[in-house]
């Protein structure tokens, strides 16, 4: 893939908050199936599969088929580790600042 295409694919893949959360989750759970990942998120298994497809096309996660199961893990490159870290930490601060705003609006 040309570098601009890669960058666009990564940018597009991370534009969606659910996908950012999913990417962070793939980093935390390591080798989880779509069903296991869906259990941790407020979206359906079908939606998770679709999001995993986008993350996989962007080279951020990779599927591994063993028998009838497909397990997902972060692509072993520092980039995806950094992306997962940023996605996870970003989601944490979003939630924290929302709570801080509530406290200060009282």
């Amino acid at each position: 893939m040309a570098k601009t295409e890669t960058r666009d694919a990564v940018f597009e893949a991370l534009s969606d908050p659910t996908r950012r959360e999913l990417l962070a989750l793939v980093g935390r759970l390591e080798n989880a199936t779509a069903t296991e990942l869906a259990r941790e998120l407020p979206v359906s298994r079908q939606a998770v599969s679709k999001h995993l497809g986008v993350l996989s096309a962007a080279g951020l996660v990779e599927p591994e088929r063993t028998g009838r199961e497909v397990r997902y893990r972060l692509t072993p490159a520092p980039l995806s580790e950094a992306m997962a870290w940023m996605a996870g930490v970003g989601a944490q601060w979003d939630a924290r600042l929302a709570r801080l705003e509530r406290q200060l609006s009282r």
Partner: protein, 132 residues
Amino acid sequence: MSDDVMRETEVAADPERVWRSLTDPALLAEWLGEDARVQLAPGGDLAIRTLDGEERTGWVETADAPTRLAFWWRERKGGDPTRVEFELEETEGGTRVRVTESRPLARLELQAAELTGGMGGATGGPHMLLRA
């Protein structure tokens, strides 16, 4: 590419009040974590159980009331030490709150790995995006 996460929001409260939210254990319990113990001075100890369920410990780097609070923390059971900085700026309607969390040490390790020519077996390399 830098590993910085930055978030910004504006709240309808003056910087002094926001500062109390950042430093008072009873107020911290409502939005960041419980059982906070913070020594508000450079080098002071910090411990908190975040609402995400992590036991975090660290130390204060800067505490300039009511504009700048910077500290380093890490999960007690391991994990990367990271640096968190809050910047408060008074605005017409209240305060702009900016928080930045970064991993300066991860960057140092990456640079060290590049200098020594190895990436510890990783297949992509730190600048995969730029080289691809």
